[in-house]
């Protein structure tokens, strides 16, 4: 009986530790180009990132808030970029790695398969690629402290 309780306690502790690690990515992050800030949330065990701030929120041509003009679906071109969910469906795989997600580049309208690696508590390496991971591009994001 004691053994069973010990096993249950160990499994609970492992699950709790895994959940804590997974949520280390939750917060507000700034991509390397400093053009945006992205808030990463946990929704039902998967991780998503929304643009919460843009350095240039308005389209210089129209003076209106930027929208997803490069979307291939004409009915969704009016979706505002501020609030846009550009990181989708990441799952925590352990050891500071989130995989099986996608990253959307609003400047090109392209979506890439992506893997996120946590370098340290305040630094993420985000790699986007098509097909083979080797031929992708990486960006370093830093965590912002939110008061």
């Amino acid at each position: 009986m004691k053994k069973l309780i010990a096993i249950c306690a160990f499994m609970f502790a492992c699950t709790y530790a895994m959940a804590q690690d997974a949520n280390a990515i939750v917060g507000v992050w700034e991509p390397g180009n400093g053009k945006a800030r992205v808030k990463i949330d946990n929704i039902d065990g998967k991780f998503y990132g929304r643009i919460v701030w843009l350095k240039e929120p308005n389209d210089p041509n129209t003076g209106k808030p930027k929208t997803d003009v490069n979307n291939s679906d004409a009915s969704m071109k009016n979706v505002p970029l501020r609030g846009y969910r550009m990181l989708k469906d990441f799952q925590y795989k352990g050891k500071g790695i989130w995989e099986e997600g996608t990253i959307y580049d609003p400047e090109s309208g392209n979506t890439y398969t992506s893997v996120i690696t946590m370098k340290d508590a305040n630094t993420l390496d985000i790699r986007g690629y098509v097909g083979v991971k080797t031929f992708g591009r990486s960006d370093t994001w830093r965590k912002l402290k939110v008061n």
């Binding site: 929704i43 039902d44 998967k46 679906d73 009915s75 009016n78």
Partner: protein, 170 residues
């Protein structure tokens, strides 16, 4: 002439074969029960997310056993902001859905002001992924991202939500 007849026979045979393989599929509408789409405060100016989860037994909602959903798309989304003593000014909603095996998919957009008690329907995306896999999962999460116009709001915000699907079943 005989060659043409043979070619024609082969083409007919292929068509008949393909039609036989597709089985008998039917289309039906399905509406979710009234769900609560809620966002926990504090909420800040800009986009905030509200989520609702719908857990279901496929046999129960379809009223049939041994039925598989082969095609699914959303045809309408209706949302109503629940009235409360104090609420921030709000507008616009981007609506998405996900499940264990379905990537987060953008479904709809509303661009006007959001007023308590007044239903608003979203413009539905013309291009939708096939959402059938979500019905095999038995649990769908809906996400509504709405804009808060006030600087901050410390309370929670709730919406009621009804989603209509068009399903192709085998």
């Amino acid at each position: 002439m005989q060659k043409h007849l043979i070619k024609l026979a082969v083409v007919i045979f292929i068509f008949v074969g393909l039609a036989g393989c597709t089985g008998s599929s039917t289309t039906q509408s399905l509406e979710t029960p009234e769900l609560q789409l809620s966002a926990e405060g504090p909420l800040y100016a800009g986009a905030n997310s509200a989520t609702a989860t719908w857990e279901f037994d496929l046999k129960e909602v379809l009223g049939k056993t041994d039925t598989e959903v082969s095609e699914a798309k959303i045809t309408s989304v209706e949302v109503v902001l629940t009235a409360a003593d104090t609420l921030p000014a709000m507008e616009k909603m981007v609506f998405e859905m996900t499940s264990k095996n379905t990537p987060m998919t953008r479904i709809g957009l509303y661009e006007g002001k959001i007023t308590p008690g007044q239903p608003f329907a979203l413009t539905i995306a013309a291009e939708q992924e096939n959402l059938a896999s979500a019905f095999a999962d038995g649990k769908i999460t809906f996400v509504g991202d709405f804009d808060v116009l006030d600087e901050e709001y410390m309370g929670n915000v709730a919406f009621t939500l009804k989603v209509k699907f068009e399903l192709g079943t085998n």
